[in-house]
């Protein structure tokens, strides 16, 4: 009987809470949409996603189609971005490359967010001894250089894209853990969380229904900011030969392959390089604007 009453109370509270939230969010979202740089960033991101999904339709050639007589052809009508040292169409390879960038970016961010979320929630919600243990480990990982650790892990596991995602996630979760823990620590002290405890709500329900939604804004901002970092890291590691292996058309590995031909065929490097920079810029612009609206504290 008593429990029933509590659940009713709870249900009555929630709709009001969420409608208030959504109207505030709608307002913020409208303001956000009026921001030109955010729109530019979002548009580029959207085009990239569409390109990745429809890569086989957009690309005029298969990404690994070798045409030796046409090697190192400068950009022309047939090959708008030119060809590489094996006569492969750069445009087709770049189009397929969007898939690698996005999948790796998404994979790294999702995996490190997951690790960071689990550890950050446990540390921030429960505190005490478990908190100091988790934060001790987090500090160690946070103080070590990301790219070096990733290289060490890839050196051990062997260079390929899956291992690259694992390595990058294993070295970049500490920022998520720190942020989520800090959010949870401050939320824990607030009255409405106190109220859930008084109402006898389970920890699980408190965490997922009440604390996480309130910590979402900075988490979303951090995730958006980490996405371009992951894309750059993938390109850099593939450039070193520690990521995508030939003939997989990652932008980093296309650039790496074009290095030897920088003098006679600069287009091999130019086009994937330009698109990589534009995509990362788009994410950074979008992330910057998102941060300014959602979470000015991080500014």
């Amino acid at each position: 009987m008593k429990e029933n009453y509590l659940i009713q109370q709870d249900n009555k509270l929630e709709p009001e809470h969420s409608s208030y939230e959504s109207s505030k969010q709608l307002e913020l979202f409208k303001e956000f949409l009026s921001n030109k740089t955010a729109i530019f960033g979002a548009a580029i991101m959207f085009i990239t996603i569409i390109t990745a999904i429809f890569a086989p339709v957009i690309a005029p050639y298969p990404y690994d189609y070798i045409d030796l007589p046409k090697m190192l052809t400068p950009p022309n009508n047939e090959h708008i971005f030119g060809t590489d040292d094996l006569g492969r169409d750069i445009f087709s390879r770049v189009v397929y490359g969007t898939r690698i960038s996005l999948v790796v970016g998404f994979g790294v961010v999702a995996l490190s967010l997951l690790i960071g979320l689990v550890l950050g929630v446990i540390a921030g919600y429960f505190g005490g001894r478990i908190d100091s243990i988790i934060m001790g480990i987090t500090d160690i990982f946070g103080s070590l250089p990301v790219i070096l650790l990733a290289i060490a892990i890839i050196a051990a596991l062997g260079p390929n894209l899956i291992n690259l995602i694992i390595a990058m996630a294993l070295v970049s979760w500490s920022r998520y853990t720190r942020l989520i823990r800090a959010e949870f620590l401050s939320l824990r002290e607030q009255e409405f969380i106190e109220a859930t405890r008084v109402l006898g709500m389970s920890s699980f329900r408190t965490i997922f229904k009440h604390m996480l939604p309130n910590a979402m804004a900075p988490i979303i901002v951090l995730t958006t900011m980490e996405f371009p970092v992951a894309i750059i890291s993938e390109a850099s590691l593939s450039f070193l030969g520690l990521g995508a292996q030939p003939p997989t058309p990652s932008w980093g590995s296309i650039i790496s392959g074009g290095r030897m031909y920088i003098v006679e065929a600069p287009w091999i490097i130019f086009f994937p390089g330009l698109l990589l920079a534009i995509l990362v810029l788009a994410f950074n612009l979008f992330g910057d604007s998102l941060r300014d609206f959602l979470d000015p504290r991080l500014k």
């Binding site: 160690i140 250089p145 050196a155 003098v263 490097i269 920079a277 990362v280 810029l281 500014k299």
Partner: protein, 305 residues
Amino acid sequence: MLRYIIKKLLLMIPALLGLTIIVFLILHLSPGSPVDLIAGPNASPEVRENIEKKLGLDQSLHAQYFTFIKNILTGDLGTSILQNRSVAEIISERIRITFELGIYALIFSFVISIPIGVIAAIKRNTMADYVSMTGALIGLSLPTFLFGLLLLYIFGYKLGWLPLSGYGTYQHLILPTLTVGLTDAAITARMVRSSMLEQIRQDYIRTAKSKGLREEKILFKHALKNAMIPIITLFGMRLGLIFGGSVIIETVFSIPGIGKLMVDSIFSRDYPIVQGSILVLATLVLIGNLISDILYAAVDPRIKY
């Protein structure tokens, strides 16, 4: 102050231990034993056993770890599989180059990013602010290796002013320094700007203004001085990041530093060198972080030791 430094030094120990455990574990659990590499595929079991004993691989994992730590503490980073020389010796030949390049890049970065960040903050929402912050955002979005290749193409090939790769004269250092320095400056300039903006908004600046102090005096004597506190502490952290990034820049410009040594050794599967270079580079990064902490305490009198 001394106590604070000692405390920070002690705090480095768990990080270093964590680092050694990570490096030790990943390279020992990796598939492909170093015995295969030394003995070749057709070696007899006796030969293999001998090599295993010589490398200490017949011992338990934790016994191997303790030997590993003991060796590190005595400056012994193992022996290169392919060159048959001590890893410490090979690394010490290369470290000067990485160090030199890192310092030049960092100095260059601070020399350009501080004025740019300050001007952008003072002239907020003017053309100067927009131009410099757009530049910084572009710099932030350009991966180092790409920017390096771009400079290489323009100055090394198209204009022919500077050598394409290698190391030796000061001309060889210009492009790598520009590459690392400018990409790093993009990040630092953004931080200088926001740190300066934060100071300009403070009450004491309003007080100084209402006292009738000259604008320049307020900005440079009061705001800048306080805005520099977080920036100075960046010095060590950026140095650490630059050392970490040496892997990429040295590959782009074929500079024979530790970064290139490490990447080359991964492909030749010379794991003792990989292990040693990661340890040395990561320790440099940690020392960079330590310098940051110490500088922070040194410049900000509010920090309690």
